[in-house]
Every structure is written in structure tokens, then in C-alpha cells.
């Protein structure tokens, strides 16, 4: 797994989306579900909330975002399994746009 550390100028929304979709497809390789797209609701992937939390943990590490994505999602007060893939992508991009908060906070 490649570490994707970099600023938002280096990583575009399409990169994040493709990366996340690839991860979701790997996780669901043995599950009989409809093809996963950006519009897929996480609850329809067959993954449980703990697994999605781990997925977000890995994304945060790969983009060097510390816990920015997790915190942003918690603030929405929305159950994680009701979110669409595109909303996670948006959240990751938003965190990247904040100019690598890990460095600012660190």
C-alpha cells in the first residue's frame, strides 16, 4: 500500500475517489453486492461501522491527515453507515484543502 501523503494540489478529488473505491472493492471482494460507485451508501456495502472506522483510519494515515476526517464526520452527527462514498471523498478532500492540518496542529 503506497503512502499517499501530499497536499491537495498534488492529490485531486478523482485520485481520492478512485483510491477509496479501490479499497472498498477489495474489502467487499467476497461479498455478493451491487458494484460500488460514488453514489453507494456505505450501509449497502455489507461492511459494519467498525470496519468503516478502520477504513477511515487507514485513509487518514495514508494522506497524513491524523484524525481530521474522523473528527469532521463526527461533527456531522450522521451515522457513518448512512453516508455515501462521495461524502467520504468530499470529507477527505476538505481535510486535504485545509493545507495538511496534521502539520498545522503538530
Amino acid at each position: 500500500m503506497t503512502n499517499m501523503q501530499g497536499s491537495s494540489t498534488e492529490i485531486g478529488r478523482e485520485d481520492v475517489a478512485n483510491h477509496l473505491l479501490e479499497m472498498l472493492r477489495t474489502l467487499t471482494q467476497d461479498v455478493d453486492i451491487d458494484p460500488i460507485t460514488l453514489q453507494t451508501c456505505l450501509g449497502d456495502t455489507g461492511l459494519d461501522s467498525v470496519c468503516v472506522a478502520y477504513l477511515i483510519g487507514e485513509i487518514q494515515q495514508q494522506y497524513a491527515l491524523r484524525d481530521c476526517v474522523y473528527r469532521a464526520l463526527v461533527k456531522t452527527n450522521t451515522p457513518i453507515l448512512t453516508l455515501r462514498v462521495s461524502e467520504i471523498v468530499d470529507c477527505v478532500c476538505e481535510c486535504l484543502l485545509q493545507n495538511r492540518p496534521a502539520e498545522q496542529e503538530g
Binding site: M1, T26, C51, L55, E58, Q60, R66, V74
Partner: protein, 541 residues
């Protein structure tokens, strides 16, 4: 001068304790372990100051104490808002270099199986990682290198659900089980250990490594619920047919563990050194549960949120994923406990007007709270909280500020409950095993003396000892040192301990500043206090 490189295997037995292993070596339950002890060395391994898996294994893996590696509990507490929350600790929180990484950057191939704080796993060439504490659905992405999962899936009988973490099951080790579920619980752990055993054997055959490490965590799980049935000091008191049946199942578990050890040693070959270590030991808790948040409420430090139910079953935490942080009326709360595993009290410092200890009064507030906890007595006048450690005492180091404000050591070394109850001290429903700071360390193989009892060593010494066995220099930032009596004098003469000269790792520079930050005199004073509290033994004592 290059040290002589010896293939090295580390077998982790989570929670293993000589009070159980020794009787099993004598009564024939673990015949290979008896042979292993006779042909090698053994000694007590002192755990971290608070002996909990989440902090202790990282200390073993990095050679530094929690204040220097940054992991204090299974969760990381976020104090940035008025309402404290927590998230699962991950490898991002482990900020000291692991022996897997140290060995790999010096050209060793490494296998690391089932260790905590390894998720997300590092992507290091030559390192095979299956992290511990990962839910089964995430396993396909969790392993390194990519593609390892596909290979592991081909092992006959492999079942991801049985291998991986299930938080509902984990909680059972804390909360207790109905008698009817003990049998399936033990059998499940036998199955899980077999999966880890199959994986380590596959990798030892197909991807032989200089350092192979595997953690079997069922010992801890079984002993939490069945310690009274496996320690002969207590087991004779439990003679019902059910108790005998469950004890026999526990013996089966330990026989299997013994057989795994025999097979791993055989597979490793005569040239390989095999080490066994546990993160902490075990003992039997007394028959009471301390509800820390109830005590805090009674003393005006905490207010419950509306609708928080009273616990009637001597449980330690909630059964669902929802956090303990939902239980408090935050504006009216200044001190609280979030997790049983940490045995910690957090102090909420005020950011603005309203509840919270004023930052300027933090130390005085903390001292008053600690003294009050120490003054808590049960109905017979016995002290309940044996010691209260500040974070400076328990977790000195660069990441001390992230540690709990206070860490409690209860008189029976048990874990506190975070739940609401009608009294701060209530009877336990069933016997319960709890962590003891004295774990185990054993080693056998070329250059290791036979039948030698080692002086007690701290858990941070294991990392340096494994690196020495591998013929590698020891990073200077490592707090632990090589357990020298674990090696023949001729080995030590031929291969003197070498310290790493350059700051090869990205962690080295940070660690250098750590050592400057933590005044040696202060460290010594803290050690003296811990020894005075009878919590640590004097080195060599």
C-alpha cells in the same frame, strides 16, 4: 564489527503468568514448556506501570515506556473540545520505532502477527504484517505486503471471522459470561489460536524471516474468566461438575498452546533462538467492583446525563459501541473515568467559565482528588485505592501530556467500572481474573544458558534483547537494555552489545530530545515512589 545474526522467534502469550504455567509444567499439561524451561532461561518480566495490553505490548515492541511511545490505552482521548471523546488507538499513535522496523531497516526480514498498534500496518519491504485487533471485514486491506491475504486465505480451514477481532467478544472478557457460554468461549479461542498458528507456520515455511513474532492472546481472555479454575491456589475450591468441565477445557487450551510451542520450536530449527514473553501476569481479583464515576459523583466531581441506567450486574463498561462519553452531563463534570482498561481518571480543565478545574489550579485540584481517592475505605475500613499515580509518575516522557491525569491502582489490581450504580463499591457476581504486573520471559536456543533463573527485568528490555539476538545494534533512544544473563558468557564475549551510532531512524532525533526533556533526577524520584508503593521492585531485588 557486525554481530553474529541468529534467527530469532518471539512468541507472545498475552497475560501469561508463572502462577499458572509452573503448575502446568509440573502436572504434565505443558510437557514441552517444561522441557523449554529446563533447556533455557526464565524470569519475571515487569510490565508497564499500569499493566494493560494496549500499553505494554507497544513497550515490548519499542523498548520504551508508554510516556515515550504515546499509547496508554486501547483508545486515545481527545481533549480538544469541552466534551471529551475518544477514538481507537492506531499505529499513528505509536510514535516510537518498533523492533520490526528497526530490524527491517538493517536488512532483516521480519514477520509480525497479531500485535496491537500495528494498524494501519507499515509498508516496509521484507516485513510481513498481520495486525492484531482488526475486524475480520478489514483483514483484506490490513495485511502487508499487499497480496498476503490472498495467500493466507488458501490455508485449509482458514476463516477470517475466527481469526480477527470482534469487539463484542472482547467485551465478554471484561464483562463476564453466563455459565452456559463458557464452553463455546474457550473453544472459540482454541480455534482462533489455531488460525494464528497456521499462519505463522505457513510464513515460517514459505517466507522464512530473521525475526518472526506471533502473539497468542487467548491466555489473557481465558484467565479473565477462568483464572480461579486454572491457578491451583484457587481451583480446588471450585469442584462442581460445571467447574471441573470448564477447568478441563482450559487445560485443553493450554495443552494446545504447548503443542504449538513444540511445533514452532521444531520448525524454527536448532540454530534459532526462541523467546517467549507476556505483556503482564495475572491474579485473582477480590469480590468487589469499584464504580469510579459513582464515587466521583458522590464527591461532587461528576454529574450523570439524564437517563443513564443503574448497573445491576457488576459490569465494567457498556455493552455497545456507544462511548462512555455519552454518560456525563459535561458542563457539570470536572473528573471522570472513560474506560476500565486504563483505570484512569481524567480531569476536565476549564477553557472558559463554567465547570472544569481551573487550569491555574490544576495541580492542587489533582492532589486533592488523589488524596480523596486514597482516603476511600470500604465498610470494614480497608483502603480501596492502593495508589494514585499522576501522569508524571506513571508515564514520564515526551507524550506524557496525552496520558491520563491520574491512574488508579486498586487494592486487588482489578479494573474499575465506568458505569452508574447505587454505590461506589458493589459485589462481583463471578470470580474474575485481573492483570498483575509480573509477566513471564523465557528463552531457549543456541548461546542461551540451560536451566537458569534470570533476575526480574522490565518489559522494555525485551526489544533490546531481541535485537542483540539478531546481531543488531541497539538504538540509543531505547530505554530497555539487553538481558545479558539470558546469553552464555562466550556469546557476550564474542558479540559485545553495540549501540547504534547514527540516528538512522526518523525517531532517533525526537528520542534524543525526549531524554533531555525528562530529567534523570525526576525519573529516579518517580521510581523510588513506585518502589515505595510496592508497585515496582528494586532492580535486582
Amino acid at each position: 564489527m557486525e554481530g553474529k545474526r541468529h534467527s530469532t522467534v518471539l512468541i507472545g502469550w498475552d497475560g501469561a503468568t508463572f502462577s499458572v504455567l509452573d503448575p502446568f509444567t509440573r502436572d504434565g499439561t505443558m510437557p514441552f514448556l517444561a522441557q523449554f524451561m529446563a533447556e533455557g532461561v526464565r524470569g519475571t518480566l515487569h510490565s508497564t506501570v499500569h499493566p494493560v495490553t494496549a500499553a505494554a505490548w507497544p513497550s515490548l515492541m519499542t523498548g520504551v515506556n508508554p510516556g515515550q511511545h504515546g499509547v496508554f490505552d486501547f483508545v486515545k482521548v481527545d481533549r480538544r473540545e469541552d466534551r471529551y471523546t475518544y477514538v481507537l488507538s492506531t499505529s499513528t499513535d505509536l510514535r516510537a520505532e518498533t523492533i520490526w522496523s528497526i530490524a527491517a531497516r538493517q536488512g532483516c526480514r521480519v514477520t509480525s502477527l497479531n500485535f496491537i498498534s500495528m494498524f494501519p500496518a507499515p509498508d516496509i519491504p521484507g516485513v510481513f504484517v498481520v495486525p492484531g485487533f482488526v475486524p475480520y471485514q478489514y483483514l483484506p486491506l490490513a495485511m502487508r505486503p499487499a497480496g498476503l491475504y490472498s495467500r493466507i486465505k488458501t490455508i485449509p480451514g482458514f476463516e477470517a471471522r475466527e481469526l480477527a477481532l470482534d469487539w463484542a467478544l472482547e467485551r465478554k472478557a471484561l464483562q463476564g459470561l453466563p455459565e452456559a457460554e463458557y464452553e463455546s468461549w474457550i473453544k472459540f479461542h482454541m480455534l482462533r489460536e489455531r488460525h494464528w498458528f497456521d499462519i505463522v507456520c505457513m510464513l515460517m515455511r514459505e517466507e522464512p524471516c530473521d525475526l518472526t513474532a506471533v502473539l497468542f492472546d487467548g491466555v489473557d481472555k481465558l484467565q479473565h474468566l477462568c483464572y480461579h479454575l486454572v491457578d491451583p491456589q484457587y481451583s480446588e475450591r471450585y469442584a462442581s461438575p460445571w467447574a471441573r468441565k470448564i477447568r478441563n477445557l482450559c487445560l485443553e487450551y493450554f495443552r494446545q498452546l504447548d503443542d504449538f510451542l513444540r511445533q514452532i520450536v521444531q520448525l524454527a530449527g536448532a540454530e534459532t533462538r526462541v523467546f517467549i514473553a507476556s505483556d503482564h501476569g495475572f491474579t485473582l481479583a477480590e469480590d468487589e467492583v469499584f464504580y469510579a464515576n459513582v464515587w466521583l459523583e458522590q464527591h461532587g466531581y461528576l454529574k450523570w446525563a439524564d437517563g443513564v441506567p443503574l448497573d445491576q450486574e457488576a459490569r465494567l463498561t457498556m455493552d455497545s459501541h456507544s462511548g462512555a462519553d455519552t454518560m456525563f452531563d459535561w458542563p457539570a463534570t470536572t473528573a471522570f473515568a472513560l474506560t476500565p482498561s486504563s483505570n484512569a481518571i481524567y480531569i476536565r480543565t476549564a477553557r472558559k467559565s463554567g465547570a472544569g478545574a481551573p487550569a491555574s489550579d490544576y495541580h492542587a485540584f489533582r492532589r486533592i482528588l488523589a488524596d480523596a481517592l486514597l482516603g476511600f475505605r470500604d465498610g470494614s475500613g480497608r483502603q480501596v485505592v492502593q495508589a494514585v499515580l499522576t501522569r508524571e509518575e506513571a508515564f514520564p516522557g515526551e507524550y506524557m501530556a496525552e496520558a491520563p491525569d491520574l491512574t488508579l491502582i486498586l487494592r486487588d489490581r482489578s479494573f474499575l467500572s465506568v458505569l452508574r450504580a447505587d454505590a461506589p463499591l458493589k459485589p462481583r457476581i463471578a470470580p474474575y481474573g485481573t492483570h498483575h504486573p509480573d509477566g513471564v520471559f523465557l528463552a531457549r536456543g543456541q548461546g542461551i544458558p540451560k536451566g537458569v533463573e534470570l533476575p526480574a527485568a522490565p518489559i522494555v528490555d525485551v526489544a533490546a534483547t531481541l535485537l542483540y539476538s539478531l546481531g543488531l545494534p541497539i538504538p540509543r533512544q531505547m530505554e530497555g537494555t539487553v538481558i545479558l544473563p539470558a546469553f552464555e558468557p562466550s556469546v557476550l564475549d564474542a558479540n559485545p552489545v553495540r549501540m547504534e551510532n547514527s540516528s538512522s531512524s526518523s525517531h532517533a532525533a525526537a528520542a534524543d530530545s525526549d531524554s533531555a526533556a525528562v530529567d534523570e533526577g525526576f525519573k529516579k524520584a518517580v521510581m523510588e515512589r513506585l518502589i515505595a508503593l510496592n508497585y515496582l521492585q528494586r532492580p535486582g531485588g
